[in-house]
């Protein structure tokens, strides 16, 4: 008998999905190299003698005005960006999905509170809200993550609540209630498996937005503080130098672009692979 | 009498993976005649109807065959000429009257637009439209003209759609299950209305349905479709009184007869219809047929014309009359 195809098989059929996954894996590997201290140079070490060198054999991506290695700083910045993105999206998923599913399933006043609160958060421009929160919380990477998580929680509330509302009305949920199943059982076994797909896709897409937001915050002088490296901060610092040291601006920008494109491709691939309607045609 | 519409060897496939959806469909309709196409879901009846107006959904295309209407092959017409024919000479009524009307436009304006678009010369368009509503039995046409579709009940919406489709006095009306979504008493009203309008206007009609009961007293001839092919064609009387294809016979036997007093076990056809693209060179009904022979699995029975009736079966059931 032919083995049933699962979503991984469908994902691997998509070229863009594979490209996205490869890009993201490269960035993760580079971050891990930095995390284990295996970067070619110390990202914080200043070598004034080597300041503002173009890309060469010793400094692959060149150096900045303090003679720090831009490659080592870039992969360290990537590590920081990914950490912030993972933590913030993780928190947003945890709270957003819980609130969205509970609100959508229980309805009534609980749902009202959830929806109104997320509407209020939605009403603020994301970056402005994140700025305000970081200002009041502090500048550590955890504070930044919490700020971004608060901004993204309403998105996950919406992504989880919508499918719950429509699945709740399906006859198999009515049937589950008539069969006397408990609410946790109905939620866990009959509703969640059917709202899982859009959430996974949203996680992939939100990771890329979170990286952009973290870069934006650092660029604006919040978030990561010098001398620590962050892709956004590096772009910010490189502004003044870009005219005569293009590499100081180009490489961190390219890193941001690659990881954002990669995560978006992964998100699109997952969307297709997890959609039973698309799968059943093949 | 000459044919108003004739479909010859019409085959429809999906564009991407070349799956056959209908194969070698032949239908002809003389002027003033009403033909019912009966089939279950997936039999290809709706695709056949849509192909006539060039309205096949994206990803599905006619790969061979001809559709001749009044001497013109609709498949090779300029889009301009096809648009002219749609609505003016052939019009269509759909299953769901809500989606057939524009929700943000009054019914009156939608009817006037039809006249306007086709440059239909009438002295007084407003009164022409009003009369068309009276003709389909809409009470208070003045108010109806100013109403939006959502203010109508399902039955009234379908009446409005029929009024719109009759507005330009088409030669052919194609109806795709227009009463399936309606209650039985309303269904009867619509059937009665369509039947009257057809005989008054000498209009031809193609009525697509899954419900044999609906066409029993409505059309002159019936074509039965199964897995993308026509398996039997004949006059309504022949099809209902002496079906020759085992599928037609099985279908009729499986319906409980409302007027009968017996409640015997319903005759049933085992299994489910095959996907048309998986049939190949054998009778598509072979796996479900109680009279199946070796030959049925080895070659494809074709429609064989015997007088006015034909059946695609090697071993047709002997006619009882």
């Amino acid at each position: 008998m032919k083995r049933e195809k699962n979503w991984v098989n469908y994902y691997l059929q998509s070229t863009s999905g594979i490209v996205g996954a490869v890009l993201v894996l490269i960035m993760i590997t580079l971050s891990l190299i930095s995390a284990f201290g295996l970067a070619p140079h110390d990202p914080l070490e200043q070598n004034p003698m080597d300041a503002l060198q173009g890309p060469n054999g010793t400094y692959w991506f060149g150096t900045d005005q303090f003679g720090r290695d831009i490659f080592s700083r870039s992969i360290d910045g990537m590590r920081r960006s990914l950490s912030v993105a993972l933590l913030s999206v993780g928190l947003a998923t945890l709270f957003g999905v819980t609130l969205g599913v509970v609100g959508g399933y229980l309805g009534r006043w609980i749902d009202n509170i959830v929806v109104r609160t997320s509407d209020v958060i939605f009403a603020f421009p994301a970056i402005l809200l994140a700025l305000a929160i970081v200002n009041s919380l502090g500048n550590s990477w955890i504070d930044t993550s919490v700020a971004i998580a608060i901004v993204y929680t309403p998105i996950f509330i919406r992504v989880a609540r919508g499918p719950v509302l429509s699945v709740k009305e399906m006859d198999y949920i009515k049937s589950a209630r008539v069969l006397g199943y408990s609410s946790p059982r109905i939620l866990g076994r009959h509703i969640m498996p059917n709202v899982f797909a859009p959430i996974v896709v949203q996680v992939a897409l939100s990771l890329s937005w979170a990286i952009l937001t973290e870069s934006g915050l650092s660029f604006l002088g919040l978030g990561t503080q010098p001398p620590d490296a962050s892709l956004g901060l590096m772009v910010s610092e490189a502004q003044a130098l870009a005219a005569f040291a293009w590499w100081s601006l180009a490489f961190p920008s390219i890193f941001i672009t690659i990881v954002v494109i990669g995560l978006n491709l992964v998100g699109d691939g997952l969307r297709d692979a997890l959609d039973p309607a698309r799968r059943s045609t093949s | 009498m000459r044919d108003l519409l004739s479909l010859q060897g019409l085959s429809i496939q999906t564009s991407s993976d070349k799956r056959s959806l209908t194969a070698d469909v032949n239908i002809s309709l003389v002027e003033g005649e009403a033909l019912g196409i009966v089939g279950e879901s997936g039999s290809g009846k709706t695709l056949t109807a849509l192909s006539i107006l060039g309205l096949l959904p994206r990803g599905v295309e006619v790969v061979s065959g001809e559709i001749n209407f009044n001497g013109e092959n609709l498949l090779s017409l300029e889009p301009e000429r096809l648009r002219e024919i749609r609505g003016k000479e052939i019009s269509m009524v759909y299953q769901d009257p809500m989606t057939a009307l524009n929700p943000v436009m009054t019914v009156g304006n939608q009817l006037l637009e039809v006249l306007d678009y086709h440059n239909h010369e009438v002295k007084n368009p407003e009164s022409h439209v009003r009369e068309s509503l009276i003709e389909v039995g809409i009470p208070d046409p003045e108010r109806a003209l100013k109403s939006y579709p959502h203010e109508f009940s399902g039955g009234m919406r379908q009446r409005a759609v029929i009024a719109m489709s009759l507005l330009l006095s088409p030669k052919l009306l194609i109806a795709d299950e227009p009463t399936t979504a309606l209650d039985v008493t309303i269904q009867r009203q619509i059937l009665s209305l369509v039947s009257k309008q057809r005989s008054r206007r000498q209009m031809s009609m193609l009525w697509i349905t899954h419900d044999l009961g609906v066409v029993a007293n409505l059309v002159d001839r019936v074509a039965v479709m199964y897995a993308g092919r026509i398996v039997e064609v004949g006059t309504t009387k022949q099809i209902f009184n002496s079906p020759q294809h085992p599928y037609t016979q099985g279908l009729l036997a499986s319906l409980p007869v409302a007027s009968s007093r017996s409640r015997n076990r319903l005759a049933s056809i085992p299994g489910v219809p095959p996907k048309p693209w998986l049939v190949g060179q054998s009778c598509s009904f072979a796996d479900r047929c109680q009279f199946v022979q070796i030959r049925c699995r080895e070659s494809l029975p074709l429609l064989d014309a015997r007088g006015s009736k034909s059946v695609a079966c090697f071993y047709p059931i002997a006619s009882s009359t």
Binding site: L179, H190, P276 | R188, L255
Partner: protein
Amino acid sequence: MTLVIDNVFKKYPIRQSKTVVNALNGISLNISKGQTLGIVGESGCGKSTLARLIVGLESPTQGAITWRDNVLLRGSKNQWRNHLSPAQLVFQDPYSSLNPRQRIGECIREVISAHNLRKKEEIDSRVTELLKVVGISGDMKNRYPHQLSGGQRQRVSIARALAAEPELIILDEPVSALDVSVRADVMNLLVDLRKEFGLTYLFISHDLSMVRHISDVIAVMYLGRVVELGTWDEVLDNPQHPYTKALIAAIPDHSQVGQMDLTVSLEGEVPSPTNIPLGCAFHVRCPIAVPNCSKMIPQLLPIKSSQSVACSEVVK
């Protein structure tokens, strides 16, 4: 008596338009053990609302639904939350009635294990047995719903209902969404199961020919009330209410070909349940209405021992 429905009303207030949908307007019915009650009526007659009330998905606005003399469904809502309802539902749409991410064997096993209806070691054989009873072979139990045909899914729904060992199975248009050639199969299965296990059915449909085929007793509903009630042959052979007569006349009948008798059996359409006509709700469409019909709601009164009609012109 298994189930008693006593003068039940169900109203749904609509906040935006400040109107009320009167889905059920004083309906009384009894279903005895082993009997099949057929309910027939057009859209808006309240037949599906009644099904939801009986299984406990909703509660009546007024009136009571009683099982074996214990009033269980009066007032308080969600009577059966976390309890197995003694009535189980089979839905119309076989595509939304099964969880798309649950294998069909698991779907049936869950009913049994959640309520400890069988010993652990017996569950497997019970699942196979239930599938076999509805005509699905045991080796299909690892399939997902989308791998089954509409008729097979409807069989799984029936098996799921049977797994709960209910007092009553409510069949809400169980064959309407199926292909014509598959309907007879499912109808035959329902008849066989009833004979084999002595089941009690409430068969709801707009299709009188299906209701006629399976019911012992038929109730004809119009706008939330029963207008005629009787044994199946009485209602069909000798309909008394003008609405029942119109309904019977409107059934497309393939046994009478070529008579071209397409006369309209009933003019007009069902009024909206938000705005039910005063008096007899049917009087606005009724061919035999007299002025008095708009003043008094006719009660369901017996004309024979087993047949009753709610029409003041018939019962005089």
